[in-house]
Every structure is written in C-alpha cells, then in structure tokens.
C-alpha cells in the first residue's frame, strides 16, 4: 500500500513471486499473509512512527534483517524500483537499530 492508500496488483504479484522463491518452510501461507497484512496496516494506522521503529526490533538478528532486505529489494526491482543497497540506503535505515542508523549517518 502506498502513501495514498492505494494497492496495485503488480506489487502484490511481485511479492507472490518472491514468496515462491523462499524455502518452503519460510513461505507464509495465504492466510498468514492476509493476517500479517491486516495487522500491520492497523498498527501503522494506530501509531505509524512506533510501528516503523518496531521494524528494527523485529529484524534485530542480522540474518533476519538480511533476508528482509533481500526480499524487499527483489520485490521492488520487480515492479521497476531500485532501492539503494548501501548502508545509508532507506532500507538499511528502516531495518537497522536507531543507534546503528545514527552511527552510519
């Protein structure tokens, strides 16, 4: 969902394609995807800043963070966007702990 609240089927299809590439045990089921999407949207609506800050905690483990970055980057590329992969890039800043991101800056 973009800033204006629009959802494009291409983004959805890109996420599905990336999901297909994940190992079977890490692949969320459609029901899980549905639940995650609805819950995250409610969290964003309730307190956007806190929800965004929470990403760094969810992906605290470097392995998880790397996987999330890879998935998001790939999905973005599929719909024609290129995300700056450097440690100063938006994705890294979003998923990194605040002190780490501040250090980079």
């Amino acid at each position: 969902m973009n800033e204006q609240g629009a959802v494009d089927e291409r983004t959805y299809r890109a996420l599905l394609a990336v999901r297909e590439e994940l190992p079977m045990r890490q692949r969320p089921t459609p029901a899980e995807v549905r639940e995650i999407a609805r819950r995250q949207a409610l969290l964003l609506r309730a307190d956007r800043a806190a929800a965004v800050r929470g990403l760094a905690i969810i992906f605290a483990a470097p392995k998880d963070r790397a996987m999330a970055e890879a998935v998001l980057r790939k999905a973005a590329e599929m719909v024609g966007f290129r995300i700056d992969p450097s440690p100063r890039g938006p994705l890294a800043r979003l998923l990194s702990p605040e002190e780490e991101a501040a250090g980079v800056a």
Partner: protein, 610 residues
C-alpha cells in the same frame, strides 16, 4: 448520405423486407416453442456448464425449493483443484428462472472454472414448497455453504460467494446471520438501500408510492391462490423501458433477421422463464425491503422473531459491483447502505470490515451478470485478486481497472489484459458519489401509507379474495398472463403460424438481402430510431477517465450534501460532511454517464437495439 432511389431499389427492398419479416415471425414462433419445451422439461437451470445435484433443499428439515449444484469443468477448463478456494454462485430469484450466472463461457462461473476453482451453483425450482419463507431459504443456503466447506477442508479461507441482484441481498443477510460461513462476498447489481436513487431517473423505486404500497402484492398473492407469479416482476422490469420492450428489441431482430435470431433466442430462453414465489415470501420482500427499507437499518426480522439481520455482523470482505447504466439497481441503491451502516471511516475500520466497490460507467442491469466484457474485466478482476482483497487492511476501496499498456512499469507481472489497483476511499466519497439523499424522505410517508393500505386490504378485502381463489383459476390467470400469452400464442400451438416455418426455410435457401446503400433500407433504419435517453440535454460524461474511475472529483466532494435526514440508526448518522455542502441537487443529473441501450446495455444481448 442517401442516394437517389431508382425503381429497382424499391423492388429489392420489398423482397428484402418480406424475407426479413418471414424470418422475424419464424424466430418468434421458435421462441414460443422454446418456451413450451423448457416448461415441459420442468424449467431446468439454463447453465452452459455441466452440473450435478449435490443437495436438494426440499429434503431439508425446513424444506424450500432451492438446491446446490456442483459445476463440472468442461473440456477447455483446468481440472478442479479441491484445495483451491471454492466459489458459490447464487442466482437471483426475482421472477425469472436460474441460469443467469452461468449463461455463457465468459461468466462468473466460467472465470472461476478457468482458474481451476471448484464451483457450485445455488439454483431453485419453479414452484416454492408449501409454506416456504425467506428464512427457510436462508437456512438452506447456510446448509449449502456448510456442505461446500466440508468438501474443501484444505481450501484457504471460506468459499467466495457471488450473489447477483436479489441473491446479493439474500447472501448479505445470510452473512450477517452466519458470519462464520462465507469467505469474500461479491454482490453484483444488488439493491441494499431501496429508497435511494437519482431524482427522475430511477422510476422503479417510485412504484411503491404510486401504487399505494404493498397491498397489490398481497392481492396478487391471494389471486394466485397463495403464490405470486414471477411474470409480474418481469413485467415490471419491461415497463421500465417500454420503447425497448415494445419496439427496439423487435426491430433489432427484424433489422438483423439473418444474424440476430440465435442471440435473441438464447436470451429469451432465460427471460421467458417465469417462476413462482409464495405469497409470504413476496410480501416480506416488498414490506421489509422495497417499501420498508429495513435491511441496512438492521430492522429485518424473521416472521417468528428468531432471527434479526444486522449487516454490521458481516466479517467477510464485501465486493460491490454496480453500474451507472443500471436503472434497476442504480449505484445509490448498491452503495448507500455503507453510509447507513458506518458513521465514519474509523467506524468501518474499527469493525474490521473491508469493502471494495467498482462502478461501471454504462452497462445495464443484466449486463452486470451476462455481459462477456464485464465478465472478462470486472468479474475476472475480483475473482483473480480475491486473495489480495482479503489481505487488504480494513477500509473502503474502489477497484480501478486499466488496460495494460506496454509503457507501464512491471507490466509483465500481470497475465491479463488489465491492470487492477485498489484505491482507498472514504464514506464521504460514497456520499458525494451517490449524491443527494433528500429524495428518500418521502418514502417514509410511502411506507406508512403502505402499512395502512395493507392493513385495510388484509381486514376488508383479503378474506373475500382468499375465499374465492382456487387453483384452477390461479393457473388460468398465470397461463393468460400477457408475457406467457405472447409466447404460447406465437408458437406451433397456433395453426396460423404453421406456414411461417416453411416460408422461413424457403427464404433461408433463397435469401436476397438488398444492398446496404439501398435508399429505402436506409430510410427504414433512420425512421426506426426511438428518442434515445441519451438525447436528454447535458454533457456526455462517459469519458475514458470517468470509465476508469468513479471517484468523485474534488469539486463534487466539496458539494456533497449533508445527510441530515435520519435514515440510519443513531450511532451511524454523524458522517462528517465537508463545509459548504448544503446546495440541493449537489450532483447534476446530466453529469452522470449515459445509460445502456437494452437491459444489459452492452450491445451484446438480444435486447440491445444497436
């Protein structure tokens, strides 16, 4: 430009016109024969697809004349995967017989089958079970959904339920009473807010007031010996556009006598099948819904008081498909219930409800279900993206469909011709889209008048009418109904039409159509044009941009009328309205897209005149 006629043109035209007339009358004769054959066969559902009976509602504890069919995949379809989400298509019981949801390959059923989904069809029989009521039908449909769920335990989510027209409000009622059963719900051309409409443009809603309310349906039910003839409802639909009913559709057949008959007959086979309802069913529909408008207000109660329908109980995502060209269920009737149920966006989100709507710019009522173009675009969009719709965060969305263009980003990800997106909307947008609701105020009076008239009828006239009614007289009345009579009177039962068959056969062997530039033929075509509804003054707004999005412009939003009149429960009345919004007639009538041509409006059904 018409060229100067010569004598041979006139001779050619006479031969051509005579031959077309022979073909025309032969097609009407064939229509009558089809009607008789279909009736003799027990009026089976007119589905293009093979099917088998799974559960007959007449065998249930509270019997009713509904049944669940399993649709069998055809040769070109993928084998059905039982682990995929099942689809249940519920056909409308509003005078006609079942079949409109699977009338052709490009249909709701066809779309789901092509993707490998298991598909079920809720059909019904011509005659209701003695004493059957709406609540019995609702319980039977609940049983059908339970059975479908039992058959597909591995399917993700509940079955997608598609309800066309009357079936749409029935499914919404079921989902409100049993929210655990359905998955996503798609309602197409379904009225849920019965008093809504555009002033002067949606005449059907005025019928209740002009005829004194629901007492006529009581009388018709009593004269039918306790059963209401669906042909009366079809007559109502036809009365909406008499020019088309009595002239355009027949001239179209005469004009295209060589090519039109197959389509005409295919559509008439469904259009000419008339089913019955119990008196109690029909009067409940009229009293509680069309005159009472109680559904969106949570006031619909079963006759024994055991069930109350509150649409806010629905937990499934709801997809609404409607059209500006639909004068039976205009967008106001299809969408205003959202305003009645939810006071604000926060209210809707707090309820966890997801509603997606799509407003077609011009297709007619039947076209929403039978048009191949709508099936390939709007229905296919809903069917293919159901998982995405289910994953949408709670809120109100408009589904927008664009043609795929090579220059679009990541277009290779989309397998179809269209790219779909869902844009977030607000209840204020619906208020602006549907316009002024002041026109609904007089219906409150109509409801009261209707209650008085129905009470008077029940006490003063009904006992006499019921005492006089009997089955032979009721059957004779049904046989002599104008819609039935025009079919059997123009069939092989009529000896005067016997020569027509031989004549038409001879014409087909030796057809001599006059040339396209024949001046007399051109004059005939020019003179047949009815004064079109499109010719009413005002701009033609069905622009490309408009067809993509029905989102109200900023200007329209700012002119939205306040909804001051208490149509809803107290908790749902405080929809915020933009400032400076009190001008009456906020939405100009002439700014609405043009309507359809025939009942389907697509030009693809036998009724379309162009």
């Amino acid at each position: 430009m018409i060229r100067i006629p010569v004598f041979s043109d006139f001779a050619d035209y006479l031969v051509d016109a005579a031959q077309r007339n022979a073909l025309f009358w032969d097609t009407l004769r064939e229509r009558g024969n089809e009607y008789l054959r279909h009736e003799a066969a027990g009026s089976p559902p007119l589905l293009k697809f093979g099917h088998e009976l799974l559960l007959d509602g007449r065998s249930l504890e509270r019997p009713c004349n509904y049944a669940l069919l399993r649709i069998l995949p055809g040769r070109g379809d993928l084998p059905t995967d039982p682990a995929m989400r099942p689809f249940v298509v519920v056909d409308p019981r509003a005078g006609h017989g079942p079949g409109i949801g699977g009338f052709k390959e490009d249909s709701e059923i066809g779309n789901a089958l092509r993707l490998g989904h298991p598909v079920y069809f809720v059909t019904f029989f011509p005659e209701p079970v003695q004493g059957q009521r709406l609540v019995d039908v609702m319980l039977a449909e609940a049983r059908f959904l339970e059975l479908v769920r039992e058959r597909h335990p591995e399917a993700p989510g509940g079955p997608c339920v598609i309800g066309n027209c009357q079936a749409g409000w029935a499914i919404m009622g079921l989902a409100a009473v049993r929210p655990d059963l359905p998955g996503p719900i798609l309602i197409a051309g379904s009225p849920l807010s019965y008093w809504a409409g555009a002033p002067g443009l949606n005449p059907m809603r005025y019928a209740g007031g002009l005829l004194g309310g629901s007492w006529l349906s009581y009388l018709a039910g009593d004269l039918g010996n306790g059963r209401f003839d669906g042909a009366n409802l079809v007559l109502n639909f036809e009365a909406l556009n008499p020019a088309n009913t009595w002239w355009s559709k027949y001239y179209n057949l005469l004009d295209k006598a060589d090519t039109e008959p197959p389509r005409f007959l295919e559509f008439e086979r469904w259009w000419g099948g008339y089913f019955l309802m119990n008196r109690e069913e029909m009067t409940a529909i009229v009293d509680q819904l069309f005159v009472g408008n109680k559904l969106a207000r949570g006031e619909v109660v079963s006759h024994d008081g055991s069930l109350r329908v509150d649409l806010r109980n629905i937990r499934s995502p709801i997809c609404v498909l409607c059209s500006w060209g639909d004068d039976i269920t205009p967008p106001q009737q299809a969408l205003n219930w959202i305003l009645d149920l939810y006071a604000s966006d926060d209210d809707l989100i707090t309820q966890g409800q997801t509603i997606v709507y799509s407003v077609h710019p011009r297709v007619g009522h039947l076209g929403i279900f039978v048009s191949g173009a709508v099936a390939r675009k709007e229905h296919a969009g809903f069917v293919e993206l159901l998982d995405l719709i289910e994953a949408l965060p709670p809120g109100l969305y408009e589904m927008l469909i664009e043609d795929k263009q090579p220059e679009m980003r990541a277009v290779e990800l989309v397998p179809d011709r269209y790219v779909t997106r869902f844009e977030q909307r607000s209840v204020v947008d619906i208020a602006a889209l549907c316009g002024d609701r002041e026109g609904e105020r007089p219906f409150e009076v109509v409801r009261r008048v209707s209650e008085v008239n129905a009470g008077l009828y029940e006490r003063l006239a009904a006992p006499t009418v019921r005492a006089m009614a009997n089955e032979p007289a009721a059957e004779a009345m049904r046989r002599l109904h104008p819609l039935r009579a025009q079919r059997w009177a123009l069939s092989d039962l009529n000896p005067m039409l016997r020569p027509v068959e031989a004549l038409a056969s001879a014409v087909r062997v030796n057809r001599q159509a006059c040339s396209a530039d024949n001046p007399f033929r051109a004059m005939e075509r020019n003179s047949r044009r009815q004064p079109s509804r499109r010719s009413r003054p005002g701009p033609r707004p069905a622009t490309r941009q408009r067809s993509r999005s029905s989102a109200p412009s900023t200007e329209r939003r700012s002119r939205a009328r306040p909804r001051g009149w208490p149509l809803t429960r107290p908790t749902t009345r405080s929809v915020p309205t933009p400032p400076g919004t009190s001008s009456p007639g906020a939405r100009s009538r002439t700014s609405w897209p043009a309507r359809g041509r025939g009942p389907c409006g697509t030009g693809s059904c036998a009724y379309c005149c162009c």
